[in-house]
Symmetry: C2
Subunit: 365 residues, 2 copies
Amino acid sequence: MGKPRPSAPTISEVAAAAGVGRATAARTLGGYGYVSAEMRDRVLAAADELGYRTNQLARSVSTGVSHTIGVVVADISNPFFGGVALGISEVASARGFDALVLSTAEHLDEEISAVNVLVDKRVDGIILSSAACAADSTAHLQLPNEQGIPLVLLDRLIPGLDLDAVVIDNRAAARHATSELIRAGHTRIGFIWGPPVAGRIEYRRELVEAARRNLWSDGERLAGYLDALDDAALPLDLDHVMLGEKTEARAYEAVTRMVALDAAPTAFFCTETDALTGTLHALRDAGLSIPQQVSIIGFDDSSWAAVMNPPLTMVRQPMLELGRQAAELLLSRIDAAGEASHAVQRELSAEFVERASVAPAPDER
Amino acid sequence: MGKPRPSAPTISEVAAAAGVGRATAARTLGGYGYVSAEMRDRVLAAADELGYRTNQLARSVSTGVSHTIGVVVADISNPFFGGVALGISEVASARGFDALVLSTAEHLDEEISAVNVLVDKRVDGIILSSAACAADSTAHLQLPNEQGIPLVLLDRLIPGLDLDAVVIDNRAAARHATSELIRAGHTRIGFIWGPPVAGRIEYRRELVEAARRNLWSDGERLAGYLDALDDAALPLDLDHVMLGEKTEARAYEAVTRMVALDAAPTAFFCTETDALTGTLHALRDAGLSIPQQVSIIGFDDSSWAAVMNPPLTMVRQPMLELGRQAAELLLSRIDAAGEASHAVQRELSAEFVERASVAPAPDER
DNA sequence: CTGTTAGCGCATTCAC
DNA sequence: GTGAATGCGCTAACAG
């Protein structure tokens, strides 16, 4: 037993010091059961005399409740997940729960080990934003439930699975944004941040297929873009959708390539912050001005977007609310403790923030 | 004993199923002590037959080690702390530790209760960015050490206390940024994000005093600004430093007021993102162009800064590295387990990222 | 109301 | 090598 700690007084020591039985000390210190006022005072006095602090770990193994929830996201430094994490901890801590947060860098194997760690640490529940897409490779998402630990999916659904989830209506948001561009007269709209496929894609069907094999949220945004095109009976130009690795640098390249096309897009819809900054960079280097020559709409509003020149029209996601609702749902599951009931899926809607980066399409050149 | 869990097999059950003693099962499952190959195989087989998972909580109460560290910051949704948190979890998880992260909203009472929670949950160490400034109100920072739990301060020092810490050289960074403005010919430089004092301030001494009663990092940045002014023998104009609540809205008001002055600043140094966006807003509404009419330097570089018009010159803080080093220091303390040795204070330096928002001061009007 | 006693799941000492 | 026995700090029946 390696116990290097300076000692940390136990309940027994407090009981001894107060001259009462362990149970009495345990009751007053644990705040349960009956105990007379004077006994309590003696115990309390002895307790803070010795500097007693409850060992929650020991309590947890005894009660089976850790008052800790697990949160697994791709990247806690991403403002989106940061906002979500804050929302979660707000409601969790108000109810006496703390969050163990793990980042997976979007790697499935890290996600799997994160879930294992959380289960082993006996968290009372898990909120997880999965990188898994296909319904295969999702065995780790079953594990918690098998162990009686509620799990709620965050921001990304897994099509085949019937699990609790709280997400954003990405598809509707993307459809709306794209249609706003169309309404302004644009017919050639670049979609930045496509599915990360390697080769070239020839048919729409392949595109949809590729999207479906990736992050749910990304796929939904692409679907919304396609919806809007269909609504307006506009053709899909595969040269106008970015494919490949999702980095700012690749977005830059993609946009640079697109603006050199004969049928260059006159507007861009960027589905993530890095996609947007890459696009902005490319547009500047190409000498194109916003919104006179090209219109633009981004995703993930930030205080920066409002101070740009021009202020950028954005799709704002309710990150805090997403976190809060996920936490509330999870806590209600924890309260219900195993009572079966089918999966709940909540969908929050994103807000369209209109500013000044969308203008009527320029005349055809 | 409320144990609603579907059962979770224990080491004893595995031992029984494998037909060996508990200890043998414990040894192979715990990976310690001697055990013959065939016994091990039997145990392992029984283990995954039953779906055995180690109860780390129970192990922790037994060993006194939880393999969990606590991280307490003001706001996990702030990209700065998000970056720090990522850095921490990178090195922590590589060593088998997970992070319990708590946000305090810069409230001292929440910070205190956060520390208590962490101590009670028996984390192996704590990394904390404190809102405490004066050396009073810091009793909670002693608690962990008394309990044998290492604590390392992050980003903010507490002047009176001799604790481990990893910080940024805010003063030097601010001094450098300000001096760059001076070098460009500016003599009236606005400092946005001052100490949050209520009334009016008449003397430099009061200003320094007010800063000292607040966040260490903020005070250092102000000190660096003052240093640069002194270096150049420039007078301090108290009307050029923002006082009051630190919000984007107040920054907007402060800048709006400053640009209306007879002796209006021709440059601004903004020490935080919200201060910067507030300033940018105010400048735009005042019809002032950057950098022709006013130069500007911000703190906390972001990918947005590079795509602004003009690209903004910024002070970039090594957030990830700050987190990594704090975690490394903490883990080394955990390894050392109580061996006394005096406090280590590491100081990382911020990087000055020169872009295009600083230009020579316009001619005096 | 109080104290005795028996767990919780795992680690660890010590005879066999 | 192996397994019985004891302990970690706390909760929780159960008598008194």
